[in-house]
Each structure stands twice: as C-alpha cells, then as structure tokens.
Symmetry: C2
C-alpha cells in the first residue's frame, strides 16, 4: 500500500471517531472485565505479519472481534478497581491533534510551542492546586510532564543525589551503603524500584513504621531512624511523603516530615499521584499542607483523576538546577543557539528519555474545556459517590469499613476470613457488572472501591454495590 | 462544563480529523521552521486557567493562531533534520483508538488483549527484521514496546548488572569503579545518561576510539581496553554496538564485538534505533549481522523511520529472566491469580514506569495496513532520495560528502570553514523551505540531510537541495 491520502484519512478518521463515540455509548452493556484465559487472544492472532497491506477496515473488524472481548474496560462507568484512569473527550481530541502534528518536544528549538505551552499549562495547574511560587514559572523551579509518578520519583532521587554530593555522583557513581531513603510500607513500590534503578539498591530503603491503626508515617519513628543513620555515618538522602497512598489513600504528615527533612538536609519528595489533583477544590487544599514550605519536588497524575488520558504525570521541582545538573548532556548534533543562550527550557534535561510527545495539548484542552469549576465538580462527584458507598457499608452489618472513607476511595471487607473476602472479590468481578480490586491492611484483606470515573453516575455506583451485596449473600449462604 | 456527550464528541472528532487532514494537505505551504523568539508563545498564553469551561472551538482556534506558528513541522515533506519522526494515517488512527479505549497494560490482568497483542506484534516485527529465534515468543527472551531507545539502554544496563552480580546489585546497589561500559564517541549520549541514571556514573564509560576515517568502533582498541580493565580488576559489564549512529549512520562491527563480548561475559546491547527497521528489506538484512549470534538485547524505533507515531521503541532481550529479575516488585494491591500462575507476561516488569498505554495498537495497524511490501517500499524510497542528494553533492564542486551516503542519511559540507557551514545551515533553515541539522565529524562541521519522511517525494528533495545551493551561492558571493 502507498500512504492513505488525506481524504482517505478523513474517511477512516470519521469511522474511528464514530467507533469511539459508540464504544462510550454502549460501554455499560459490556462486561467490565473480560472472560479470557492466558493465551486466548495470542492464539487467535496470525503468527506472521501480512505481506501485502490491508485496509483499515480489517483493523477495525479485528478490534471488535478479537481485542475488545479481551479488554478490561477502564472507562466503564462501573469500573471501580485500582484508581481511575480518567479519559475525557477533550483530552482524547487533543491527543489526536498531538498525533497528527507529530512534533518532537525534546528541545525548545525542536518545536518552541511544544515547550512553552507545557510551561504555561504546568503553571496553570500549579496555581489551581495551590502549589508554591517557587515551583512556578517566575521562581527557581518549574514543572514538566512525565509519563508516570514512577519516573518522577527516579528524577527526585537523581536530583537529591546531585545536591547531596555536590555533583560528584554524576561523575563517580553512587557509593553503596551511604545513601538512605525513607518511606513506609504504604509508599508506592515505585520508590523501591527507583532505588534499584538508580543503583542505590533495596538496602537503601528505610521502611518507617506507620502510626498504629493508621497508614501514615509515624514521625517519632522517622526521627529515630534518621538519628540512627546519622550516628551510623549514612547520608539521609530523601524522604517520600505520600498524599493519598495506593492502598488506602492515607496522607503522610507532610509538615512534620518537612521540618525534619529541612533540619537534616533531606530531599522531600511529595508523591500525590492520586490525591493531589483533588486540591483543585478549596475545601481540599489542606492536602497540600506543608508542600509550600518544605517540598523539594512534588508530583500528581492528571491521568488518574483529572480527566486527562494516560500518560500525564505532572512533576515540579523547587530548584530546577539540581534536576538539570543531574541529567544534562549535550552532544554536538543537539547543539543550537537557543539552548546556548540560556533563555529557553530544554525539557529533555528534565526527564529520562530524550524524545517527547506534545502531551501538554491534552492537559491544556482539559483545563480549557472543563475550567476550574468543571474540574471541581468532577472531583466532588467522585467523593460524593464514595460517601454513599461508605454509608451503605456502615448500614449493612455483614460488612465493615477497614479505613475511614478518604476522598473517592472506600476500603471495606466482609466480616469474615481473608479467603472469603478474596472469594467475594472473584465472584463480583466474574459477574461483569462491576470490577473492584483488593489490598491488605494490617494483614487483613480489604476490598477497594475507587470512585471517580469520568462517566460514572450515582446509579452506576448503586448497581455495583447491589452486585457486591448479592454476591456476599450467595457466598454466605454457600 | 459537564462532559461532552458522545454526540458532541462525534461532532468535534470530525472537526479534529478534518483539521489534521487539512494540516497534512497544506503542510507544504507552511515554513518548515517557525520564526519565533524565546518567550513569544508563552507571553501570548493567558497567565491563569479559565474559571469556567470553554468550548473546544476555542482550543482549535488558539491552536491555529498561537501554537501552529510556533511549531517546527516534523511531518513537513521538506523536513530533513535530525532523523525522521514518522507519523502515518494508520498509526494516528490506531493511537486515537488507544486514547478512546483508555485501558492500562501494566499487568496481563489489567487488559489481557493489550499484553497479548503486544507480544504478537513484537514477534511479527522480529520476524520482519530477521531477529533471532531466541528473541521471539517461543524462545527464552521476548519483546516489549518502550518509549525511547534511551529507556532501552537503561534496561540493558540494569539487566546486565543483574546478570553480572547474580542479583546482588538489586539488593546492595552498585559498587562504584567496578563496572565499565564500552561505547565510542559516536554512540548516542543516552548511554552516558544511562550510566548516570543507574548510579554507575560517567566514569564507567570507556570511549573506544573509532577506526581512522570511519565512525565505527575499532575492535583492536576495544580488545585493548577490555584487557586493561581485566588487569585493573574492573568488571566489563556492557558494550553498546550502534547500528546507524546518530551523527553519520555508521555501523559498529557487531560480529567482532559480539565474539569479544562472549569471550569476556560482557552484555552486548545493539542500539539500532534509527537503522534497524531498514532490515525489513532483504537487501539490508546485513545490518543485523552478528545480532542473532551475539546480542543480549537490541532495540529499534518504529517511531523514527517505520511510520509509527512517537512513542514506539521496540526492545528485545535474549533472556527475559535477567530483565524481570532486575525490575520485578509485587505489592499486594497488584497481586492476582494470573500473575502468580506464571502463565502470563506482566509488562510492568519489563520497563521503568508502572503504567502503560496500549501502544501495540498503532504498530499493529502499521504492519497490517502497509504490509511488509509497503514498509519496504517506504524504506527504499528514503534511501533512493538520499542517493539522489549524494549524487547532486558530488556533482557540485562547492560541496563535498563528509561520509559515504548511508541508508537515508547524507552528511556533507561546503568546502569552506566550519563557521561558513554553520552560517549556511542558519540561512537555509531561515528560508522556511527546508530544515536540516548539523554534526561534527573529526572536528569538521557537517550538514545532515536525513530523508525518509512519510510524505516526502522526490520533488521535495529537489526543492530542498536547490534551496541549499541558492543559499550557498549567496553566502559565497558574500
């Protein structure tokens, strides 16, 4: 085949737009989770690529027949697993523009508008979330879009190492056993993965106990570990404060951690991947207590609960020099006047890869099309749905909340053994009516109900809860 | 604003499809490079996000007025800078489907079709490029889509460290000064960045000299350095063989490097980011000489020269256990039966981030819609264009080739001082007619003409070359 002409593209473009509009319209009628065994889809796909080109119709037809039945439908209005991975019409449209433009944002000069829109939009979001002046355009720091919060914490580690070693680590490598990082058992596994990737190793991770019955870091324990490391001659490198942990949406005590970090020169990274975007609501601005005073870096994921398609993690640093100092390398083939003038931002020095998509477009479209008012409405709806679920659980004596309902997340369990709870989860998910996931809290299995989907309305939440109740009844009768 | 309804999405979806079709149709009439100063676009974007939502029309109108004039048009048929960043209609359409579906591929269970299509498509591509059996589905290795070749080389370093240390590095961290990596001055800067990110530091990089007058690694020099490191008690960790260097498309001697690596237990990573995809043509299969016998890992970028929108780097390992052993961490909230059965692939353990888009869709659509025959035609057209340019340069005594024309890349210079060549580049790019970039070869500035754009035809190449000739004439006339 030669290239599709622009008019053929128009034809198939309309068809794909129709396909998506219909998919969203009819999502409710699909089972949320697929019924497939490992290898089912692989076996149905041909073993060899075609020699001659086929029409895009063939792609669409196989999408319907082979692939859709093998998808877990994250955009389904009754999907309540993990955390939401919000998509939205403006984000999808803007991401399509990004694909069509096909520009590269690695350097300012490789598409100036790509860099400058990102700078502006990150500044907008920093304002919207009440993030401090020093993260913003006029300050010494700045914001950038990453793929995920996992990458953000790697960058935080690298910038912290650069600062702590006055640049030596970049040249000489890390010294094993010297640097330590503070987390809790509830901190995202990405921090341990970051320690492994950056060469610190798992041994660099200090797991600070949480306060009894809570899932947030115990400050007294943190102080004790930092003091012990000081005595042992270790360098306390970085502490991760989570605002909204993955399991239970717990919030670490950022102000207390921050004060301790400042005292000891520890880099404070705030991982607000899920919950940070909720601070767009003035009544939830407390989520960022301590960030303005103490955070060296911070991230939150509009691709979770802020209507912006994956991937879009927004990451800010208070001092961009630590980050770019850790990462900047300039080969001849990338040299250009604008970079050498020092007047531009080259985002390749703010991230792990070199190349980058024009991801700012989708975040810009979301902020423009929803406005701050629309974003607040979306966040509040997710929380309201979770409040309903929490009330229903409290009213049903077979169940109990395992943590207080926090933002759009509800953790609960059947008053029964762990295995019964896992069985309940499997039965619920097998119905196709809804989809939940689980965690463990103090060794007890808990189910997680994470509201906040783009298309979720109260009746979807009700249906899902009724499904849980029915499956519990069958299980308990069994 | 509340959400756009599916029908409103349809309306704006058609408009965006039209916008892209028109953009592609009229790209030729736009200057390739923008005429903007640092800050021009930033200043024209409002300082604050809107309180109330706006219509998507406002986004489209600002895109036209504020952003498009600030873009370097990578899809322009007369863009010959850097390397091509191919986009194509099937890839754009499939990426739109990916956005609309909004599923997560981090685990098999988070959308089985997402993982299994990727496995199948990577196997197709491995066959198409003549990559060895052990990289394929039935073998001990496997393939995965990464964002960029930068991430692939980080993964190669981590897997190599895992193998070389029998898993100890993961727990204890790296030992500085122990591990060394072999590259040349022509190897992509991503390898040094990878050494910095993984904690080895810049000191771990051994720059092996290239053969005089060539830009490929000198095997005798490599052998000498490896021996010296052995004597000094260092561990020779990894060698990077580049197939198609960024500056000049030089090809390192993979078979010779491979034999030496095998002898010393060194991990051989083959970085074929730009050139590897050309092996879809049987007459270029030699590009992969030595890969089948010796490569531990390999990557190439369909997002450069194989019609698949950024980001799509395809990465294979010969032994997947080294990679997943280096990276796998399983918190409770991600546990599931399928993963524990060992019967599925969880791609989060094959990459740096946790979350992942359904990127296999766009590569699948490209392979389906072009077929192998269409892909070969595309590769051959890019090479043919470069051959024309090389002939024109040879025929014009004011110019000289600085390396032989290789694949779709031509490096050349005005027979004049470095500064005159930089001036020529600036003048050419200021015309808006075409866009080239530069490099240095043995301290001499060379201009790079990288053909291979999706929409480029011979007359575009001719126009671009005439522009270079005219600007040279003006410059030389003084």
């Amino acid at each position: 085949m030669t290239n599709m002409s622009p008019d053929e593209f128009r034809h198939y473009g309309y068809r794909v737009v129709d396909w998506i509009a219909d998919y969203w319209k009819h999502l409710e009628s699909l089972p949320v989770a697929p019924r497939v065994e490992p290898g089912d889809i692989l076996r149905r796909l041909p073993a060899h690529p075609p020699e001659q080109g086929e029409s895009f119709d063939a792609v669409l037809s196989d999408l319907d027949e082979l692939l859709v039945p093998g998808l877990l439908h994250w955009q389904h209005p009754r999907f309540f697993g993990y955390f939401p991975a919000n998509s939205s019409p403006p984000a999808v449209l803007a991401d399509l523009l990004c694909s069509g433009l096909g520009v590269q944002g690695m350097l300012w000069v490789t598409s100036p508008a790509c860099t400058e829109l990102e700078q502006r939009v990150l500044d907008w979001l920093a304002q919207a979330l009440g993030l401090p002046e020093r993260f913003r355009l006029a300050g010494p720091g700045g914001g950038v879009i990453q793929d995920t919060a996992s990458s953000s914490v790697i960058l935080a580690v690298l910038a912290a190492l650069h600062r702590a070693s006055a640049g030596r680590v970049r040249r000489d490598g890390v010294t094993p056993g010297r640097y330590v990082c503070y987390v809790t058992a509830e901190t995202h596994s990405a921090v341990t993965k970051a320690a492994v990737i950056t060469g610190l190793g798992e041994q660099a991770i200090r797991q600070v106990p949480t306060r009894p019955g809570e899932q947030a870091m115990d400050l007294t324990q943190l102080r004790g570990l930092v003091t012990a490391d000081l005595v042992a001659g270790h360098t306390s490198l970085l502490a991760v404060a989570t605002v909204g942990t993955t399991s239970t949406c717990a919030v670490d005590p950022v102000p207390g951690m921050g004060a301790l970090c400042r005292e000891h020169g520890i880099w404070l990274h705030v991982d607000a991947a899920y919950a940070g975007v909720a601070a767009v609501c003035p009544e939830l601005r407390w989520l960022h207590d301590g960030v303005a005073e103490f955070a060296d870096s911070y991230c939150t994921n509009p691709h979770k609960w802020l209507l912006t398609n994956f991937d879009c993690d927004t990451f800010w640093v208070a001092d961009r020099a630590a980050l770019t100092g850790a990462l900047s390398i300039l080969p001849e083939y990338l040299r250009n006047e604008a970079s050498e003038s020092g007047q531009v931002t080259d985002y390749r020095d703010w991230q792990i890869p070199l190349g980058r998509r024009f991801r700012a477009l989708k975040l810009w479209a979301v902020l423009r099309c929803y406005g701050l008012a629309g974003l607040r409405e979306h966040i509040r709806r997710g929380i309201e749905h979770a409040q309903h679920v929490a009330r229903w659980i409290t009213a049903d004596e077979r169940f109990e909340l395992t943590t207080p309902q926090r933002l759009s997340l509800v953790c609960f369990r059947l008053r029964a053994a762990n295995q019964a709870n896992l069985d309940l989860l499997a039965r619920v998910n097998a119905t196709g009516i809804t989809f939940l996931t689980h965690t463990k809290i103090d060794e007890r299995v808990s189910l997680r109900f994470a509201a906040g989907g783009t298309h979720t309305e109260l009746h979807h939440v009700e249906q899902a809860w009724r499904c849980v109740q029915q499956q519990a009844a069958t299980l308990l009768a069994g």
